[in-house]
Symmetry: C2
Subunit: 360 residues, 2 copies
């Protein structure tokens, strides 16, 4: 039995789901892989619990309960508190350790680089460290000890397929297209069914599909970060500001409050209706699509054939289609729920197992 | 730079495509992964070339040319010849070695077990060693050094997704369904379009989609072996004869020659036409499907909804849909060309890279 120390940055929805999943998988992983996952540090934005001998299951459950009640770790009064992530990396003291970055912050990059330099492994659900300057991406990927499946398709193995199958089989990738936002997939499916754009946005917000400010989703930047990660994984030395991003609303609506925005968008309904109808006359439908081809990355509304993989996609599922030398007649397609805390935590745990069994 | 010795059993279509792909990938893999793949042994059914220091690129190309002209390695007069696969395993002399089984024979199992026992890794495109007695499967899988992606979906990452994502994320798999034969996918798509069964079989044979005796495909046993590999990968301790297999022709047509068979099947056309029409009245279409659920595995003709992933599948693409706790509303779906020597060789090479970089 090999003990794998885990250091987790981030204890929000995905962070809690990951801790819960690690606890549930405990016995299964011991007999299946001969590994025991042991949290040695757990941080939220305000504090950390650090226990080099492993935080006990009882204390992990107490921390989960405290977080569920809205408390920070800083108030949970268990164990010893550190301030900086860099200090926390020091605690593991073995190269078997794995750092999980489940935050949505830029500031974890230095701690991740330090951990990798020490010989630890790392798993990211956080897109930010991979979508800053290219040099950071290159450094983070320079060892074979960083995994980041959940940054693009949550549990859908988009990155594993791109890296572990297409690139590793010396295939030549011609293009990638996909729908990488469950929220925007929900909206474009609704538009296709004749719903009004503004109603769909209201519903998506009410259902919790969007961020508190829906412009964070409708602006396309989250999808652009996913596109950038795919592009860089293919070997493109691209920067985020070189991706063409088309928001789902005009620039001027970035002014004002969320309520102003929600009131203003009904003015867009007629235009969307016209666009959907125009697409349909050509056998097309609208999707919020990622397109990577010929060194250029685009993110925006696209008319795609109704009988193409993207056109047939319904609801909030993600889809990625890889066109390559080996998949020339028809693409290699992956489809499934690519969002949600459970899917994201599942992708994180799968990466942890890969790294842990690779070291074993 | 790390040199990875390769020992390859099998030098038919997939074997040649794999050697060619290894040669093409050489420079890319040196800078990308820091690994150099070096053939130390290459065997066909009649002979072997063994060179512990690595078969030179010139000699590999000469062997490829000789095989392309229909010669056996036994006649190629390069290097030293061994008779037994077991002897050949001895040649690598380092635990970094990887044995590739690209044959379609039962007889490789002992050599594979010996190689794994010595600490080598192994990659299988050959289904036979994994579909004999369960005990062989268990022994072959008992290390983390055997990969077998190409046995099920060629280059489509079916096994990687099942093992590396679903099982490794502690997901609970409820069922798997799929279309895992390009040949039978071609037939059922053709039936849906109104073509006669017998004409489709003739065409498939003429296009090289079937084995020389089409009954080898139409009998369903090749698909059953894929179903068994999926079932065992999920942890089911199943034997091949416990899979319910429905052939596409009646038992009595197993008598007689290929020509007899091809003459006799036009008598089945009317029945297939009736079945397709009956399915359509319920919004269904016929597919030759694998179904794994509740511990039972079935392979046969199935009426599936036209608007389901399997029902929308056209032509010879493979498709696998995983229904699980994480993918409950809609399944995790993989689709792509799951056959052909290039796809199979691609799957093999991807597995080689995984193992080689895991050891690095």
């Amino acid at each position: 039995m090999q003990t794998i120390p885990l250091i987790q940055f981030g204890f929000g929805g995905v962070g809690r789901a990951t801790v819960e999943r690690v606890l549930q998988a405990r016995e299964d992983f011991e007999w299946r892989y001969g590994i025991r996952l042991s949290y040695v540090a757990l941080c939220d934005s305000q504090g950390a619990v650090v226990e080099p001998r492993g935080i006990s299951f009882g204390n992990l459950n107490r921390l989960l309960a405290a977080k569920a009640e809205g408390q920070s770790i800083a108030n949970a009064s268990i164990g010893y508190r550190h301030e900086g992530l860099i200090d926390i990396v020091d605690v593991a003291g073995t190269t078997d350790a794995i750092v999980l970055d489940l935050t949505a912050e830029d500031e974890t990059t230095d701690a991740l680089l330090l951990a990798l330099e020490r010989g630890y492994s790392a798993v990211l659900a956080n897109k930010k460290p991979l979508t800053g300057p290219y040099e950071n991406f290159r450094q983070l990927l320079s060892s074979n000890r960083l995994r980041y499946e959940s940054t693009v398709g949550a549990g859908v193995p988009v990155i594993a397929t791109l890296r572990g199958n297409l690139i590793a089989s010396h295939d030549t990738i011609h293009s990638i297209e996909g729908s990488l936002s469950g929220t925007l997939g929900y909206l474009t499916s609704g538009l296709q069914e004749g719903e009004a754009f503004s109603i769909l946005v209201h519903n998506a917000k009410a259902l919790g599909y969007t961020e508190p400010d829906p412009r964070d989703d409708l602006g396309g930047m989250d999808v652009a970060r996913k596109a950038l990660i795919l592009a860089r994984t293919m070997g493109w030395t691209l920067e985020l500001d070189k991706i063409f991003v088309e928001p789902l609303y005009p620039e001027r609506l970035n002014q004002g409050s969320v309520d102003d925005f929600l009131l203003a968008i009904s003015a867009l309904d007629a235009d969307y209706r016209t666009s959907v109808a125009a697409a349909r006359t050509h056998g097309n439908t609208l999707r919020y699509a990622v397109s990577l081809a010929g060194g250029a990355a685009e993110v925006g509304i696209k008319a795609v054939p109704l009988d193409s993989p993207l056109g047939r996609l319904q609801g909030s599922d993600n889809l990625v289609a890889f066109h390559s030398e080996n998949y020339d007649d028809s693409p290699l397609v992956l489809q499934g729920r690519g969002a949600g805390v459970q899917g994201t935590a599942a992708g994180v745990l799968a990466n942890v197992v890969t790294l842990a069994t690779q070291n074993a």
